[in-house]
């Protein structure tokens, strides 16, 4: 019997980190053939060139698709998606996958979902059913309505996908594949690499041996004009605390330039003797960094998921993760310098948070690969009410 061809489209560095164990599991599975397609910001230097890490990790790339349209407004996001559909259709037409896998809720993942579903290719969606309250959420649920199989990350997500009218027999709580990576480092006792040497970056190189903060804050699409103001609140708080801090540049989004510009301008105007800036980091190393940090600050979903599993305190800023189920490791604050400062201080006092299996137990990759092998190939569906 021929292997099932599974096309996975990766469009951004964080999505790659999140589903890496799914890719590994597909690749290793004797009945599956992985067709890895790299597109959008995953190909671009200024968003961390995920493609380089992917190749270094030993994956073969079946097709590359440059489709990020440059622009300072939301129009570019829409057009990026349009170009993505145009090109991914050709890629699918040439690769002829049996199943297409799309990840999460970035605006451009809609392109994968439309190309596959319009071409009658069964579509699997990883991480549907979550609630976040902005364009990501619209996109996520909209993809759910196009997808044929749903690999969700929590019981709450499973319930919501079923409520959306999907066939319960096609909704699987596999846990989040990002937890699979976290599982591998859970018992790590010290940071196993020197981040400055391994990842370069710019700025000061504070001593990390007495603890440190990690910052990762993305612009929030529907508020993109405010993204500069938002990042400034965080910058001021971190500046004032003056603790060893490792800061990660935001990934692409309408408004990315607001956030980046804000950081760049702040650096021009202030001395930051305790802050180092990274463009990106290999997923596992990033988890090690978090595991040994005092606190993660920002609005990354890593704070909600992996940090829950690892028991890392998180200061979650603003609305981006608003409605995601969270463990007791998270303190939520507004875009406000004082609140951010206090929360950071409070979280360090708190010590290690409790670890939770809210987002899975670390075997999502294998479970998804196994489902991809056995699920019936189908692309007809109807609403369940």
């Amino acid at each position: 019997m021929p292997k099932r061809k599974i096309a996975v489209v990766i469009t951004a560095r964080p999505s790659y980190s999140r589903v890496k164990t799914v890719l590994t599991s597909i690749q290793k599975h004797p009945e599956l053939e992985l067709q890895l397609i790299i597109a959008a910001s995953a190909l671009l230097d200024r968003y961390g060139s995920a493609v380089n890490y992917i190749e270094k990790d030993g994956f073969e790339i079946a097709a590359r698709v440059f489709n990020v349209l440059e622009g300072e407004n939301l129009t570019a996001a829409a057009k990026t998606t349009g170009i993505g559909i145009l090109e991914l259709s050709t890629v699918f037409d040439n690769l002829k996958p049996d199943i297409v896998v799309t990840v999460a809720d970035r605006f451009e993942t809609m392109a994968t979902a439309i190309a596959a579903s319009y071409m009658n290719i069964p579509l699997a969606h990883i991480q549907g059913g979550e609630v976040t309250g902005n364009i990501d959420e619209k996109v996520r649920h909209s993809i759910t309505k196009l997808a044929d199989y749903h690999f969700v990350a929590s019981e709450g997500a499973k319930e919501r996908v079923i409520k959306l009218g999907e066939d319960p027999a096609m909704v699987f709580n596999t846990g989040c594949p990002s937890i699979d990576l976290a599982k591998e480092i859970k018992s790590s006792t010290k940071l196993p690499f020197n981040p400055y040497e391994k990842y370069g970056g710019v700025g000061a190189q504070p001593d990390l041996s007495k603890g440190y903060l990690v910052v990762m804050q993305h612009p929030v699409t529907t508020e993109y004009k405010d993204s500069r103001k938002h990042i400034e609140a965080t910058l001021e708080a971190v500046y004032k605390l003056n603790k060893p801090t490792l800061w990660f540049w935001p990934n692409v989004d309408a408004g990315a330039d607001g956030t980046s510009t804000g950081i760049r301008a702040f650096r021009e105007q202030h001395q930051l003797p305790q802050v180092h800036f990274f463009k990106n980091m290999e997923g596992k190393d990033f988890l090690e960094l978090l595991k040994h940090s005092d606190c993660l600050i920002g609005n990354s979903s890593v704070g909600i998921r992996e940090c829950a599993y690892l028991g890392v305190p998180v200061v979650n800023i603003g609305s981006r993760q608003n409605k995601r189920d969270r463990g007791n490791n998270v303190i939520d604050v507004d875009y406000c310098q004082d609140a951010i400062e206090n929360a950071i201080l409070q979280s360090s006092e708190k010590g290690v948070a409790l670890s939770s299996s809210l987002y899975g137990n670390g075997n999502a990759g294998e479970e998804i690969a196994s489902l991809l092998t056995t699920l019936p190939l189908q692309f007809h569906k109807t609403i369940m009410y």
Copy 2:
């Protein structure tokens, strides 16, 4: 106060007919400005050049967008959608509408929905919540999850949209605007025009005075390889009955060529002394034609909606309208010559069917225009569970 700018994107002849009263009501409303965008098959001769009717009806066109990619497979449908997004983004960026309106569930209407929602323009969706069981249904519900306002056509649809997690305060059962047109001709007692003179077409010109059949059968996307076989069953049945018949060419879809080719080949091989073929017809004239016919045959949604309201018997073939709520005017049959023949005979015996207000009472256009004037401009939403 400046008028609200309402952009409506029309992509096909039947969509135009369906929402014509909405356009008229927006145009007449003192607080609204209509920005009419014509795209996709609505611009193309071989799908009936809706654009010509639109201009004849006195609407001014703000932009034209050619985006139908030619092809015999589903890839073309996906790519048409991609090009649509790319171009409609530019159009919206230049026209700066306050609200964008998208209609129903054709694959390419997704382009309108994505461009508007990604650009943070409030999106109104007409005819969400219906159930049909193929790619149209995936598209329809997927658009619902992107839309901010829902103007649905029946109570069943309203319930489903709310179950999909939409805010009940933003879901309005306005009835279907197509019924507005039907209302105008409901009391017509005879066909007020000669269709051969007014619309040309090809083939025989049977005498219509003793009754006649109307056929309108579209390919069904997920079964497009079968579309030729499907149309042949209908052709054989109509050929055998040999009654005066007015046949309408199908509109664009992947598989359209199968249906068209089937009709063309059948005409080459058979004499059809009672069958006349039309490319298209102005919406109101088409309703008059139906009103005075013995029976509508095929899979058009007109049979489900307008014919319910007008009390015209319908032989509904195959799965296309499978799950739509229907009145007692409809007989459902499979793609099978005998079944089609019998149903046609049976429906003529039955006489006039009962009229039903299942899809509204004929004031949807005005109601929608009024809502567009008063609804809060918003594009943030979250799932209601």
Copy 3:
């Protein structure tokens, strides 16, 4: 040493026929690897699905690109080219060819030329330097200015390409590869197949044993509104002569619908007991058909090239081949029924025309493959004055 990868982009049935021996020669060459890309109308059923013939001929296809935008106007031609660039860039980026080959002057071949030259891939152009006097000519010379190597079909063409400022060392008169095919059948003494059986088609099946006419007339882009009137002059002439006639449908172009519609309408209104219509024919069979015909009528470049070599009389209508170098086998006429009729009669009287090697001696394919092996890989150039 690794083989040189040679990407050839085929966008239409006639282009395939023309360069088939080039493809065969590349494929057979031990130092070359053929990357065959099929795009545009070469993929479409209504233009004869060249792709099917290509596969039947044993070529492996590296990528397929659907990019024909549907429309009744010239806008569609421009957009088809835009989509072509967008997608061919991705294809080249993934296939990484050492040289890209583009053929002739169809509007969409510009896409190949731009994608390759912008990406610094050395570009070879087959059939530059010819003069035709419409958009094709603009496109042809424009591609010449982007191309790095020029494989031209005649001495006149060579001179013109050099006058255009190209480096004479990079301009090669290889002859036209279409003559390679003609060479193979030059000594054929009778039609070796029954065209009705082998190619189907529609219409009468006249007896071909006493001679027959062949018609192939394409719309002329810059006059596309007149294309219906033009084809009608030819139709009237052929109708009146009432000789066995084999008529080929036109290939895609803005205006194609005018020509096709004209033919279709004429067939509805007239009995044509001596005319058979074909959609397309494998290149070699078509040459056999010409070789044994009394005369070719229309505006195909086959009349100018292959028919010169084969010595077949040609009635060349209108401006399409206006300025191409021609042999004494050609009679030129205007779009005028009488002139066409007279020329057909005159050409049959004339008997067999003299064969000419104006467009080569039948070894273009091998010569081009050999040049592709040895030419320096370069993409820098400057005008030679």
Copy 4:
């Protein structure tokens, strides 16, 4: 008589500066209507948002088209062009211009040329016939072969366009419109504004009263991998000379990131107490700045044209302007720190260079507007040999 509608497509800041007087002259002309279309990097913040200056200058914008695809390689340039064609076709289809004007030779201007010529809209090309020896030159001559009217900037250019086979009656040496602006400030005796106050920028604010250098160096497409090394030679030379220097960021091109990255990295690693960086400057102010500078350094065409007219010494680096006709104000050097340093020193010694009218006398804008009014509207042409 209705005004002729003249669509001008501006895709970059420098192109706008260059043709500003053409726009003004069209706008003022009683028989012309200007349709100004802003696209590509002219809309983008990181290339200086030309669009803001255009609006401030009082021009009304008929359409905006975002089409710059992001990427680190040449693929993005090709794709940007493809998207440009796709969208400009729609824009032209909606605006229905009588003539389209395209400027110079940037890769993406090809999109304007193709859209217009394929749509049978007469195409005017400003600045054809120049020789530069890289992809720009391929593009420039390729556009010449598509264009119907040629407004060239020098006698040498005129001769070359005619040699390219263009009808001499359609080739006009109007001079370069950029000289029109230079004319207005030719008699300026001192810098009429404070550049730091008016244009912000970053870095030191050296005293300009005793003379200063201006640097503007763009990446050279065909050598894009080297662009970082190239810019570093210039950076080292300027760093070593340590004179007051005003440095302008490069505009978009494949490789732009190499140049920008080089500058950014150099700034991180060195103190530059005499160097100020500007993103961009209004055209006239930039000319004032040049007029009062000691020397322009880099590879901008401004050095070849406006500086010739103004008599400003220029150190022209590398191959970008290689083959352009130049006045005696230019010293050519390679990408070599020492050579650059020496040339700068030598040029300051030389004192004011001689002014030359090589590129016109300052009335190009009016002359072009006048020609656009009277030229026959035509889009048929053939090669003149």
